[in-house]
Amino acid sequence: MNRSASGEKGVSWASKKALPWIIPLLLLLIWVVISELKLTTPYLFPHPLNIAESAYFYIFGNPVDGPYAGRFINDVSYSILRVSIGFGIAAFLGIPLGILSGRLKSFQLFISSTLNAIRAVPGICWLPLALVWFGIGIKTTVFLVALAAFFPIYINSASGARLINPLLYQSGAMMGVGKIRGIYAILLPAAMPQIITGLRLGLGIAWAYLVLGELTGVPDGLGAVIMDARMLGRIDIILVGVIIIAVLGRISDLSLKAVLRLCFKSARRTY
């Protein structure tokens, strides 16, 4: 509540609404100008209007009309499903393990070298292995998404738990707070801002790895569409896919924040 008064001094409501749109609109304008002046070949760099048309076709078209018509709902549902499962697994493991290693020195010593070694391996290196282990399909994608999203969630939860002001614990102890209540009434809310940061970073990476996983020959999903369009030379569809992923990534980030704020007092008040 205080944030708007202290953190965003002198930013009026109008500029708050307008400022984020300036760069996207400017880019769009440049794009239109380049296309209108025919500075590039339309094949490599389609006109925005053609992209809009393809997007409309892809989202609202009738499947009998052409190769990409009306595939949107199907692709998006598969992609969202894969991201949700992968991200869910990452959060389910990352938050508890992170908090444990932030609070218990022995647990940190036990687990951190192993995890850091795994983290040092670029995510794409797991792709061949995952394909062999899980085959082409949802499991490979979910595995890659979960693996990639785990680390930011784990690391941020750990540092959030480690950096809790010890006075908060001492206050709790003198007010008769036991171990269990200490966890959900002091530890979690105090670490909440950093847990949220970890979840948001993890969700962003989840979308990136979703596309990687879907590039490997699955029939449905946004990554599959992009790969498919590349083979057929449909640059417009590739760009439509990219834009949809960007929009979905932003929406999922906003929804994540909204859900956390709805569920947790500490997220509402301190994040």
Partner: protein, 269 residues
């Protein structure tokens, strides 16, 4: 720390003959690299029920360590410390600290911070009543729904005071609680503390490095020395209450105290 304790403490509030708090030969050493530092040495003190005792000393004399031992956060290296003859074994709400810095829960409102220690001990309606009473007593009426980030430093220390007083502690421990406040808020808080003390008659150990503050508040002043931290001197404060800082009597006492501590009266100090 069990459920029934809370009510027991509320009922048992008559004066005790034996001291509420007693320490004998208390010492504390901390390891520092490959040698040890003596932080406290041979602390013998006794505090009676209802007393307001100030511990006065320069920074680094171990005042905070002593207070944390009384609170049960730190174990002494030698000697004994007990309340009513029972050794202190850990923290508990019968010995509550008001910390020097802000230690409120930032995700809870003023009301929720004050109610925090009561949760699970008494029912919701009782909690609401008690919280309301202490909001009133500490001058926080109307601020119940604010977050700690939205109120001033002085207000925060009022909340810190209210959230422990609401638990009805036998012993209120205060670790330079007004040290970071501006002069005016500090005076207000000192008066507030005294009026609460007169109303609730709890026992207070108040740590400070401010001679005026000690002279204004205390029944008895324990003057500490450093390297190692030890009690150098105990001064009974004979000034009548209510005290006023601008009276000649107060000035006399202040000068007497400075002389006893060994500070000369040169204006540079």
């Amino acid at each position: 720390m069990k459920e029934h304790d809370f009510r027991l403490i509320s009922v048992k509030k008559k004066a005790h003959r034996d001291p509420l708090l007693r320490s004998v030969g208390l010492g504390k050493i901390f390891p520092m690299g490959n040698h040890f530092i003596k932080v406290l040495e041979n602390i013998n003190l006794s505090v009676n029920s209802g007393e307001l005792v100030c511990i006065l000393g320069p920074s680094g004399c171990g005042k905070t360590t002593l207070l944390k031992i009384v609170a049960g956060f730190i174990k002494p290296s030698s000697g004994r410390i007990e309340t009513h003859g029972v050794p202190i074994s850990g923290p508990g709400f019968e010995r509550c600290i008001v910390f020097q810095e802000d230690a409120l829960f930032p995700w809870l409102t003023v009301e929720e911070n004050i109610a925090f220690g009561l949760k699970g001990r008494i029912n919701k309606r009782e909690i609401k009543k008690r919280v309301g009473k202490f909001l009133y007593l500490t001058g926080l009426e109307g601020f119940g729904r604010y977050l700690p980030s939205e109120i001033s430093g002085g207000m925060k220390q009022r909340v810190a005071l209210a959230r422990v007083l609401v638990l009805d502690p036998k012993l209120l421990l205060m670790d330079e609680p007004f040290g970071s406040l501006d002069a005016q808020s500090r005076e207000e808080m000192q008066s507030l503390l005294l009026s609460l003390w007169e109303e609730l008659r709890h026992t207070i150990i108040f740590v400070t490095h401010d001679i005026t503050e000690a002279a204004f508040l205390a029944d008895r002043i324990l003057v500490m020395d450093k390297y190692p931290g030890s009690i150098k001197l105990i001064v009974d404060v004979s000034l009548k209450r209510p005290r006023r800082k601008e009276t000649n009597e107060f000035h006399h006492f202040y000068r007497y105290l400075r002389d006893r501590i060994g500070l000369n009266s040169s204006p540079s100090l």
